[in-house]
Symmetry: C2
Subunit: 337 residues, 2 copies
């Protein structure tokens, strides 16, 4: 009873089933011209032998791997990591597998290393979730002719597919509800200034201010974390003329805003309204529950996969924007001043 230590190959199956290895290959690939009888016998032999196809050999022979490389910058943030998970889920539902790499800053050499690896590995396509223009440019440079989708709000040449959640319109939604309630003096606690999402949200904020204040709108720069939202708000509350509403660049910072206001005895929304962005878990249970902008990561993942597959097929590049959804909770109300 000699048991071979290496797993069975297509040849072992062929020998035992009494057919050629190519016939086994045909069964494996559902090639039509195999008789039902042979097909059945081969399938049976595969089962008894516990044969498993060697993907490296297949990739070498065919030149394609059914693997998508996904690069994500700033994985510690809820947005990028949500996108990654949504992309992976969609990919697998379509029979693709994901090779992933998360990098922190998105420096060109990090990007180059990751993208190069994906190419070496023989991925069929690449999806890059990137937050800075530097990372966008580095990705484009490194990816060469490989089908690549950029999940970004940065500047991407027309011949490359890209997709992102519509940050600008989302922020506009936030501003629209505040203005609809009667707010004119709306401060902004933004994310880091080199972050593309932060930039767009801030731009939407600025462009929504009434012309009278649009040049001196109050803005403080945070770092996406709660604590920075807290600190910015504390600084803001030291100003002479207080805003009647604060638009925070994301929900985490909005939490910091809420805490600071609470500590200073300001009631939300009676004294100041607060709006966030992201609709993260817990935003429905802040005190008070946070009005915010919901991002549909699932739709993003689907679109990104759709675009890579199109690129792999050689179809022309498209650019897609996923709409956001305004979630009104109780942190917004009419201004009292």
């Amino acid at each position: 009873m000699e048991a071979s230590r290496t797993s069975p190959t297509i040849a072992d199956v062929a020998a035992l089933a009494g057919v050629s290895h190519q016939t086994v290959s045909r069964v494996l690939n559902n090639h039509p011209s195999v008789s039902a009888k042979t097909r059945h016998k081969v399938r049976e032999t595969i089962a008894t032998l516990g044969y498993r196809r060697n993907l490296a050999a297949r990739t070498l022979a065919t030149g394609n791997s059914r693997i998508i490389g996904v690069m994500v910058t700033s994985t510690h943030l809820s947005g990028p990591s949500g996108s990654l998970l949504a992309i992976e889920q969609t990919a697998r539902a379509q029979g693709y597998w994901v090779s992933m790499a998360g990098i922190q800053g998105g420096e060109p050499d990090e990007v180059l290393e990751v993208i190069s690896h994906f190419i070496d590995q023989g991925v069929d396509g690449i999806i890059a979730v990137v937050q800075t223009q530097t990372a966008v440019d580095a990705t484009i440079k490194a990816s060469g002719g490989m089908p690549t989708v950029l999940v970004t709000s940065g500047v991407v040449p027309d011949n490359l597919p890209s997709v992102d959640i519509d940050q600008y319109t989302g922020a506009k939604q936030a501003m629209t509800i505040l203005k609809g309630l009667g707010h004119t003096n709306i401060a902004h606690v933004s994310g880091p200034c080199d972050d593309l999402h932060s930039e767009l949200r801030a731009a939407a904020w600025r462009s929504s201010l009434p012309p009278s204040v649009s040049n001196q709108g109050i803005i403080f720069e945070g770092d996406w974390n709660s604590w920075s939202g807290y600190c910015c708000t504390m600084s803001l509350l030291a100003l002479e003329e207080l805003p009647t509403a604060i638009f925070a660049g994301n929900d985490h910072m909005a939490f910091g805003v809420l805490r600071a206001l609470n500590e200073r005895g300001m009631k939300v929304p009676q004294d100041i309204s607060v709006v966030g962005f992201d609709d993260i878990g817990g935003a429905d249970c802040s005190i008070p529950p946070l009005t915010t902008i919901h991002q549909d990561h699932h739709a993003l993942g689907q679109a990104a996969m759709e675009l890579v597959l199109e690129a792999i097929d050689g179809r022309p590049a498209r650019s897609v924007k996923i709409p956001t959804q305004l979630i009104v909770r109780s942190s917004t109300g009419v201004p009292s001043r």
Copy 2:
């Protein structure tokens, strides 16, 4: 100026450098017996040709891929996704790459599909981040002889390496601070009952109750989300005798607890103390800031990688527990009743 469409191979490099392909391979693999001069010339040729090694071919020839397969269940939760990202970061720092797959429930057939794929792909090892015993068992069954590390608090045979953050001791820390403040009537808002972490946190809670109440400790089962924490608390507040403290199974649910208490006019920590678990972003800015148990995902990732590498080396299996850290904020205080 004829440009070949396919990328250059080791043979192209060899031809241009005037050496054999094996010499090129030696240079690629830093084999010692290549003269400095030849090595240099080959390196130069590689650069001018833009040669990139084909990993599929290498994997086929060597039988190893320097890829680790990482399977994660319940990716929507902060814990598992944090672990995934930490593992990936550590893996890449050690020259490994990650093939990932997130599954929702951890049903045996999903697990089997993922693990089988990893094996087909030729990964060097597998790390499975799993939350239920069902998923643990399915992983063990599917992984066969492949070096596999289970990131779980479930029951794992001694001959398999496993690692997790120490849930039980962490929950004990939460209970210890509450008891130290004088609380005896401590309610628990738990996670889903089939979740291993939830189970351990609840067990630690129960075993920490004073003997007088240990049989009738108040427990409500949530689903890890804020809203469930809110609902459980609302039910809890309808009871005749209210607890003086609530230990929430995670921070998200703790947010719901805080909101419910706030809505009912209960002051935290004056009327009721609240403790969470996870130390997610924003826990420092809830109202009031949340006392919670911090999990060191980075250490977890490092340990998991260490264990797979040991398993790949054929060294004996170990089991590792990563300690948690108590973070005291202002949601806990002495009981007033």
